[in-house]
Amino acid sequence: MTLFTFRGGVHPYDGKDISKDKPTKEYCPKGDLVFPLSQHIGAPAKPVVQVGDRVLKGQLIAEADGFVSASIHASVSGTVKAIEPRLVATGDMVMSVIIENDGLYEAAEKNPDFNENMSGPADIIQKIKMAGIVGMGGAGFPTHVKLSPKEPKDIKYIIANCAECEPYITADYRRMVEEPEKLVEGMRIILSLFPNAIGIFGIENNKPEAIRKIKELVAHEEKMEVKVLRTKYPQGSERQLIYATTKKHVNSSMLPADAGCIVDNVDTIVAVCRAVKEGLPLTERIITVTGDAIADPQNFKVCIGTNLSELIEAAGGFVEKPEKIIAGGPMMGFALFDTNIPATKTTSALLCLTKKASSWQETSACINCGRCTQSCPSLLVPSKLSDFSAHNQTEQFLKWNGMECMECGSCSYVCPAKRDLAQSIKAKRRAILADRRKKQEGK
């Protein structure tokens, strides 16, 4: 069987065995739930409730503000305690709606206008928008916007991102193994929006069980197929996934839609299925609580807004003192200094690493060994780019294509001198983007 892949990439320790075979447990939150109004790309949502209001599970608490925005729904029933800034995973303080859980989980009434059989493209997009679905792989781009490209006829491929290339995370894997029918149904719904498209499930070959199940379900589907990918980080990166499954190239100045592709995460597609078939808004997701510092690493079905420190307790607490706690995966996640942060729509994992598994080593001089260049999936020369960033040489940085960096971290991972290549390239790239935005606004 040929394995599809891309150039570059690294092979970190997989870390998935400790959590991948345990069934996902539903977790009922104990404390208050915090809903940051900005947990997606685009304008923050506007609250439609006030302090003191009683809300029900699934009720709209904040509405999308503009086209590129997403609405937010309560994941439990209770009372709105406050609307104030709260700490989130990135370290920012973001305005949030805080709900006190009454433990009843009383569901809101279904929208009387909801009709399962309304299935024209406009209806489907509307249902997805009403459900507040965003890209749950981590970026949080509003899905109803992603599924509304300028020319739907030009979309040839709908690619389900089943790669889950970050080490340790098994949330998407459990979803594929436990609810594959919803994934396939969600793909069917999305395909109905694009008459010329076929659906591809891109799954890494370290997930044989998931491959088997999805292959079974799409065996008789004309418009869907499974493509098995070589396990490598960052296979789940949009550009590498598109290249591996369709051989098309996408660069930083293009959207995947320009190449006729749309890529969506597993959880996002399942959420689409539930929104369109059952009218359920996005109020929960699977989070992997894992790492060698955790006693019982496993996956939980978590209500959006749950305090992450509760999940640590639910997974048996620490078996060893953790050196680092990361929201997300070890390659691109955010290191936390406080675990009292809420689970958002884009939180995929809580990773607790001991000193042995995480890494801090002293940085030494670049010896120009070229490992970073060999591993860069964007085919850049990170050692040079990092140098330009350190010396503030913007022109050279642009000449050596620094803007194509997708911030995957492969370069830093592989560097024998333990240099912070990814960090300096990220900083320079974002400085340049911020400059460009300022100039545009100045005009």
Partner: protein, 313 residues
């Protein structure tokens, strides 16, 4: 939670490679030719190697102390430079010249330009050329207990025949590390297997050299193409240079295409020196020349980033 957690930018995991491990691999790869050199040339070679390596490490340690910087000798790069330099010496070289060479290599070529990774030419080769110019007769004295006089290349230049099997195994006169092509190849295969070097530089160096000398009919003197090619390849410092000197990270291009251009330039230069130069050897000079051109080569060969060929306006 009262506990403190370590916070830093992603990625939060790293591979197990370190600079020191890489240097150690290079030292291990040099062991076959080092051991062979000692057995071929005797105990004087061993003493010379030890003195040179010690002088290199000491020079780096002393320099760091003088400029109040942290000691860097633990990364083993000085050991590698010292060893490579020693392998470029004739076994009869006076010990004090070896010490001067090691100090020049480390202090002038490496540390004064910024230390590890910042040297603009290969330190061992730079020191070798400095010594060749300053102490020409000592550096060219290949008479020793085991062998007399001329190196194989000198013999071939004068039109004589040389036993190429001896050249492959290494039972010839020459510098300590360059005589045995087979030992060098064993080390090179180890380095390639460990992923430390790839074939771009040695391959383009050797191939372009071969093409050049065949084009210019060097084999017509002796009439035997195969013997001639093997002789030219095993003679002089070509093998050691192609796999261990030209591939030095700091002085070779960072870009994949650049590596090939670099190898070709060095190969053609070596061809010119061997065919038309006044000395039978030219490997060191060809590599140093190519080292100088590396910044320019890198600028010519900026890789095209992923997806930029499919750019839509």
């Amino acid at each position: 939670m009262n506990e403190e957690f370590h916070v830093s930018a992603s990625p939060h995991i790293r591979s197990n490679d370190t600079t020191t491990k890489i240097m150690l691999c290079v030292i291990i790869a040099l062991l076959p030719t080092t051991i062979f050199g000692i057995t071929n040339f005797g105990y004087k070679a061993l003493v010379l190697i030890i003195i040179t390596v010690a002088a290199a490490v000491a020079s780096e340690w002393i320099y760091n102390k003088l400029v109040h910087k942290k000691s860097t000798v633990n990364d083993l790069s000085a050991v590698v430079t010292g060893l490579l330099l020693a392998l470029n010496f004739p076994s009869e070289l006076p010990w004090w010249i070896a010490v001067v060479g090691a100090a020049f290599a480390i202090i002038v070529v490496k540390m004064l330009f910024g230390g590890l990774g910042q040297n603009f030419m290969n330190p061992a080769l730079g020191a070798r050329c400095f010594l060749l110019l300053s102490f020409t007769s000592s550096m060219n004295n290949f008479n020793c207990d085991a062998y007399s006089g001329a190196t194989p290349l000198a013999v071939m230049r004068d039109g004589g025949q040389y036993n190429t099997l001896n050249m492959l195994i290494g039972h010839t006169a020459g510098t300590i590390g360059e005589t045995s092509a087979i030992c060098i190849l064993i080390g090179a295969i180890f380095l390639i297997w460990m992923g430390i070097i790839d074939l771009r530089i040695p391959g383009s160096y050797i191939l372009s050299f071969l093409v050049f000398i065949i084009l210019f009919g060097g084999h017509l003197n002796t009439g035997d193409l195969m013997n001639f090619c093997v002789g030219e390849l095993c003679g002089g410092g070509l093998m050691l240079g192609a796999f261990f000197m030209a591939t030095d990270y700091a002085t070779s291009p960072a870009t994949p295409k650049g590596k090939i251009i670099y190898g070709v330039i060095a190969g053609v230069l070596l061809g010119i020196f061997r065919m038309f130069g006044s000395m039978p050897e030219g490997c060191s000079y060809s590599i140093i020349f190519a080292n100088m051109l590396v910044p320019l080569i890198e600028r010519w060969t900026i890789p095209r980033a992923f997806g930029l060929k499919g750019e839509k306006e």
